[in-house]
């Protein structure tokens, strides 16, 4: 599936208001947490822990949405919805799609350092 058009990145405007150190800290916090939630989804998928998948997918969807990464956010949201609907197999099937989408989000975050 082609990546969706990026939504508004709500983080970027903060750069104008924050001193560079504070901005880098918040970017770093997103990087760490996005990586951690994505890894937690993959771990939970391996042991079919649907509740953990749901919980982490919810967080990931919210963060990626806030960053304007609508493709990653949409996949995470679909994983969350499938988990909530008790459709564990559907949720598991979506996990491989998440990896490149999250990588794109992380690349976007890395771009803030340039």
């Amino acid at each position: 599936m082609a990546p969706e058009t990026a939504d508004e990145d709500t983080l970027a405007p903060l750069r104008a208001h924050l001193d560079p150190k504070a901005f880098r800290e918040i970017v770093a916090l997103y990087e760490t947490t996005v990586k951690s939630r994505a890894a937690a989804i993959e771990d939970a998928a391996r042991i079919r822990d649907i509740e953990q998948m749901r919980r982490n997918a919810h967080d990931l969807a919210g963060m990626c949405g806030q960053l304007g990464s609508s493709h990653a956010s949409a996949i995470a949201r679909r994983i969350e919805s499938a988990c909530m609907a008790g459709q564990g197999d559907d949720a598991l099937a979506l996990v491989p799609d998440l990896t490149p989408a999250v990588a794109a989000t992380l690349a976007q975050l890395a771009g803030y350092d340039r």
Binding site: D7, E8, T10, L11, P13, L14, H17, L18, A22, I26, L29, Y30, T33, V34, R55, H58, D59, A61, G62, M63, G65, Q66, L67, G68, S73, R77
Partner: protein, 415 residues
Amino acid sequence: MSEAPTRQVLLVEDTLPLAKSYIEFLKTGPYTVEHVETGRKALNALKRGTPDVMLLDINLPDMSGLDVLARMAELETRCPVVVITAHGSIKLAVDAMRAGAADFLVKPFNAQRLKVALANLFERLAIEAAPPALRPAGSAAARAVDEAEPRKSTMDFIGSSSPMRNVYRVIEAAAPSKASVFVTGESGTGKELAAEAIHRSGPRRDRPFVAMNCAAVPRELMESEIFGHVKGAFSGAVADRDGAATLANGGTLFLDELCDMNLDLQAKLLRFLQDESFRKVGGTELIKVDLRFICATNKEPLEEVAAGRLREDLYYRLHVIPIHMPPLRDRGEDVIEIAEHMLAAAALEEGKSFERLSEDVKSVFHTYNWPGNVRQLRNVIRNIVVMNEGGTVKLDMLPPPLDRLVVPHAFKAVG
């Protein structure tokens, strides 16, 4: 101009980067933020002191935001709550509003949207809390509320039921302000009357009140109707023409059936709301106006947002002071007061001698659910007066569908 007071915000959000983002968003405004990550910590924080507003994520690790709202209701904690929901979770937002939340925000949102939502909320709270001395002296609305008369007539409203007394209070409180008002209610409940009452009770009463029904104007003409056009802007535009926005300058622009406005025009209306300036269709000149906006819909605005028919950002801009017009079936004795008032007026106009309703007719009026509300009642009364003669309205004079509520023995008793 005095500075805005600093507001205490309790932010309940378990995803740390999001919480940090929201805190940063608010740093440029008059806010101090306390952040907690769970529902339990939020309830503990409320025990220590009540903030000016709580920003509450619905999805928390230990309990849902709805549970927090329920617990707050049990504890009678009076703190306005703005709930934060995920995209596609409007139903949860609706549930939260029903559980007492004052407003909602859908993730993701930017700094401006967050600050507009909070500013709207505080403006609404300030208006509701204003003492009577600050309200328009001698307004009919003020008299209706303050004198506790047995029969109330506020502007063109009739009725003293509890739901209507609430409406009068909000109208009275909202009238002196410029804040946008969002009127909801079924067809025939008097949404335009409410808008007119606000206009006539406020400082703009001597300026124009311009009403537009967005469902009644062809979509392709709506932009021109609101903003006007210049000669040659489109085929048929043979001369420059002012739109409702210009005609209402200094006064009030009432947009009825807002949810029927197409999305492109909603975007233009949003910019107009933000800037208070616009260009006529085909024009280049930026026109600045001073308007108060009142809009109305007979639909559920949150459902319209969820369905994509009403822009969420426009909803936030306009939904500063909500007024819900109650359906006639929920107005108790008002139905009889209104019917008697209409009966007298219709009898006078038609040269008839009707003076009263029989007790049986009153009983039917109480029983019937009035899907068309006051407008339907007016038509029923007019029908009775035109088609019948006498001093008392009796059961056998009732037109359809009310005649179907007349049980045979009651009919005999009357006949």
